[in-house]
Symmetry: D4
Subunit: 228 residues, 8 copies
């Protein structure tokens, strides 16, 4: 069999990270363990922080095995399926400005991806509420003061995604909706929740792709930082 010589073709986007202020992140699913190990090694050589998302437990174990000593630098979380080396310094202006709310415990992996991404990007003191779906509205109403003054609320929900509109009607800040692929039948794959987010009757809701907790975190950071 021939050996495919891919490494020489890769042009990793280190410059983007420097340009936009967001340190590098890589979507692990769809990449081979060999590609991931090469990327981690390159980040380490540059002493650059790195976030891997969508890294399932099995390839994570393989990757850690392949990295040898470098594995000790990696903080892997199986719930959110994220691995981190290093992070940005905590930033004062981001402290306590963000909340994450999730409708059900099945939405926890995506919510935790958002929380871990926020920490990696420099945001501390993120309020996180899980299992506050609208079927039991009191769970949300009882805790609404914890989030109502936050500047950004990341709302995570699958199924029918009613949480997005209800939260947006209760808080003053912007709501970043993260539809999840939790559900079955008409909600399988997250389409029902996604369309609920986009069609929300409450002004001030914006949306990211299904299950994209990382993207919501990036957007939240960009909303809160001054670009100049």
């Amino acid at each position: 069999m021939s050996e495919s010589q891919t490494p020489s073709w890769l042009h990793f986007d280190w410059a983007r990270a420097e340009r936009t202020g967001l340190p590098e992140a890589v979507l692990a699913c769809g990449k081979s363990v060999a590609q991931l190990a090469e990327i981690v090694a390159a980040a380490n050589a540059r002493e650059a922080p790195l976030l891997l998302t969508r890294l399932e437990s099995a390839p994570a174990a393989e990757l850690l095995g392949a990295l040898g000593e470098l594995a000790a630098e990696i903080d892997y979380d199986p719930v959110s399926r994220t691995a981190v080396t290093g992070r940005q310094a905590a930033r004062a202006e981001l402290d306590g400005t963000i909340a994450v709310v999730a409708a059900g415990s099945s939405d926890l992996p995506v919510a935790q991806e958002a929380v871990r991404s926020l920490a990696y990007l420099g945001a501390d003191n993120v309020e996180c509420l899980v299992d506050v779906g609208v079927a039991g509205l009191w769970r949300l109403l009882d805790r609404v003061e914890l989030i109502s003054e936050r500047r950004v609320t990341i709302a995570v929900a699958g199924m029918e995604g009613a949480l997005f509109s209800v939260v947006a009607g209760l808080v003053k800040g912007v709501v970043v909706a993260v539809p999840t692929s939790v559900g079955y039948g008409v909600s399988v794959g997250g389409q029902a929740a996604l369309s609920s987010a986009l069609a929300s009757c409450a002004p001030g809701v914006v949306t990211v792709n299904i299950d994209n907790g990382f993207g919501a975190a990036c957007a939240a950071i960009k909303m809160l930082r001054s670009p100049v």
Copy 2:
């Protein structure tokens, strides 16, 4: 041009009405004014009550013109696009057991189709709340005691349809969701609201077709009547 001889082919289902206890109703859209006039005349000849749904203003005017003296028997409502001749006697067991709630004023035609259908089928004292969408949750919470003890609540909503889950979490009775085609972009045609109804995280929600206020009324009547 040849004359098509359709009337002799029609087998109107008068027996179904007698068999199931629901008097006859006809979906007007997709039928010619000539067909509708023939149906009204047949109902009149049998002294049977009749409900026409989805009858837009223009064909309604044409129909009334075509009916001549019979037109005086027809009660046409342009908002709900329904026409009625006669109705069932009011039934005691249906009195005050049903509520209709609608998210926005654009959902009014469908909500009113449900209310008019319920009246036609014998249900009086239907509580009806419009413009109580979840973006302003207090509008619903302030009035929830009006509907919370009703045995059936018909919830009417387009856009993202968050109303269905919120109502089902607040009331004890069954919730019949009627998604509407109100909306644009991802909610055009009512698909977003429909999938919200079906995927609702609140147990006890059942659904009918998009814009089908009449079907919701029939189901509500069937839920409340004893079949024996």
Copy 3:
């Protein structure tokens, strides 16, 4: 690897159960065995009944292993993929009022989820007919007297879902359609059966999500109980 500390985030909705009269139920798929074990333990500690749905055989075995002595309390049924601890007391007003009919033997898991859920919620003497699809119409016509006077009929069908309209034309009670994901080609995933339920030409049909036997049972109970 870091340990994710999810338990402290969970806000299980015990209050909803008390508020609506429906004891607690949990969708097992999408949750880890550790989460499920924690939920069962919490229910046991409160002496609360609990129903788990969508619990496949493999995670069920894992869960029973993880529960230790508690496992003896669990009644697991592999056909319906449901596990139960305790149930509501049987209620007189629900006795003999409900029928379940299923088109084919492949629809049995969903039909049995409905039957087991009804038993858990307090309904005894549920008539259950399986393999009465419309391709052999006499199978249904021969048994129609068994269901025609029931107040609620839960109809379960995949493929093209013609059963929903046929049953609704034959019985006096309300029909709750449960489309199933049984089928292939255009009916894969249950979309063909779902649209047949929603578009039914027979008034009085309401629908729940694909494969949602539990939801149909909850709706049936709500239809038959007086909320006051």
Copy 4:
């Protein structure tokens, strides 16, 4: 403005008609009145029979005006939206072998397109039943002996299309399903009826495109003729 010179590009398929035994037919919608007039004139010049389908009333009137004396040869039917000049001689082997059943009176245009196409193609004595939808099953059961011995039954239905499976379970011949675009919400455009036809649990159902009464007639003729 330049004059586009399309006529010289057209290569009408007169040979196909001769080759397959089916005389020529043209889908009128999507063609200009000028194109249609040219086609009719060409058919007349060859003394060939011709069937135009999907010819709405307004362009039909324009066409007849444009044809001058030739208009007297045209038999236009506004219900089925078909225009015919001439027909094949009636064939003994097709006599009394075909039935057409339609679920509702809104399906009449498509059913009549099938009946008119069958007559054009040489089939006499076609049994035609309209308004026999399954919501009132007795209407069909009372007349089933009229169709049960026919070799081919063309079944025409919109909405949820349950008629296809019910008919196929009752008759011995083959069933050609013609889904119609009659309906709203999930059945708009005919997709729900189409998937019901394709997913039918009854063996021996075949399907043509939505609203394609002409195609069903052609297939029926081909099934009944010996090609050699």
Copy 5:
């Protein structure tokens, strides 16, 4: 664990087979091996022929193991994934009247399901051409005389399904299109081939569900038999 008592619920449709002249067939996928073994035993007890479709190799081996001595009666073909016990006597009127053509070798399993189903239903001398896709049109044109006089041609194709229209333009008999799930990208699952079959510009094409070789065989038999 509780034992689910499904057998007593089953109402197998032996009567349908006697009524329609088509011996019994069962879709194996979606049924448990225990259900299948029970069905085979019941057929054997009645000395009835039986066809199982969609029976993959692994459950087939399990089933044969579970059947013990009965296994010797079963003729299993792994390519078409069909198992047969017994068949109808060959019928003279079906001999040599049917052809099966398949676009590519990946369509072979579905084509062979059709051929095996036809044999089971009594049709001998079925002409079968595989790998005659339109990309190399000569392959089909060179063999067209083998099929052009057959009364029914079952055409099997995935990808873009151009074969259906080309065959229908070349033969005089009716064409039963069987779209297959062969393909990727826009043709994954068979939707592209299905819509090509339904939208065919050639009159006289009828369609069955994706991958439904058995259904095409049943329809072909019904087309060729006299029902009286």
Copy 6:
């Protein structure tokens, strides 16, 4: 004909406006001119500012006619299809912080809806670039310094929506994507542009519903205001 008494059912959400700091806005399409006139009169009576969106020219003319003297208060713009009475006081912290870029001149109505909404909500000095689609990349690159330091960029594009990712890769602030329904074939209705926005490979892009320039404006204002 009966008079439908809708006004008494309406519960306009004046409180929401006061609660969230966003003055009232109403989606005009789907409402009757009578409903709109009543809403304008109510706003005028409260001396509240009001924004009407999706108000086409014909109903706008009808509305102005129906309002009589009140019409002089209304500023109607036919390009953006918006009507305004009053606005919020300009806010210093919003000045010069927002840019709007649109891919083509066909996207102008949606872009202008965003600009007019921003002005209504208190944001002055909004940079607006139109006709900077990526097919001629230099148009955008030449002007990128005008937007690169803005805190929020609203990007408006139909067709394939490549603009969203390109802008997000060039600017430091957050990008709010507004897909438009500009296009044909696969991009008709805006689905292609919507999925491009959601699937963007550039972190920091958030999305609103198709053609929802008003929603993007609301989100931008919420991102830039401090809620406390």
Copy 7:
């Protein structure tokens, strides 16, 4: 009413035309007549050639009226809905290298859009065959020598789009498929033809958007020109 000042925002892409060698073209649908008149005037001022596509007859008449004397410069063709001022000089290397084939006469507008676009871009002697759909295969086979040696064949088809694969199997050059929106039922809007083009089993087929005759012409020109 306020006057919207859009002209100053427009940045027409004259540079793109100069850069890529393709003179300017504008999609007329979705633009106002005022915008179009301004664009034509700007082109005239620069003495630049211009092609307007998707210009229906009604706005074309309005536009010509608005242009005054400039109207004499415009060559409008109502079949292809294109308007042209000027063209590129005919290029020797494009002469006789391109063919256009269309399945039916309903596809003529799109085919003619391609032919007119090719002429505008400098290609003379384009072979054009219309009404050569595969249902009558001989029509294409009889003329195949006219196109088999052309370097590029633009194939235009709606319905099921079988033409694309058949042509690609017969000619040596590349085939550019243009699916059209001709059809009804499953082929409405052109999706069936589009997926046939993309899923074609014949190697060497490439596709453009539905009804995009102009795009196919541009691609053909680019394929045949040397860029250096």
Copy 8:
């Protein structure tokens, strides 16, 4: 079990290869290892070159094992999942005329399928750039001179597919877009990238099926060769 005798049915298209100048290629997925081994043996017997695509590592290993000595002739590449025996002689007119660009490293398998297919078909000196997605536009702009003068650029991208329009705006040659199934949520399966390619605002983009690197290579070769 019966042995299915498929080989005698196969009609491999060796003539097509000779007729069109493209040597033979076979889509491996969906075929059994036995079928593949038979095809390789047949090619070897004819001394014909052969390309297998979509051959995953596991069946590749099985195939090599089944081939015995013939395995030494096969060059298998696990990244592109292609196997090759022999190739066409390099052709001077194809040398250095083609570029391949891929948005991300996850798109590498498809890009490499294109490169390997091009080499098999006789094109040397193909410029290949990977990881040049538009989120970091400089990566592409810095290398644009490497591709801007190539006659054909094959652009490979998943996610939102913005690369297609950006490349087409920068280069003079034709762009063949290959959407990939890389992505999640709305871009799962490649639909978002596909619609971006088809709806591209840049003239001169043509598209092949999702993940079809081989098809893009065939089209590129056909564009560059003279057919006469």
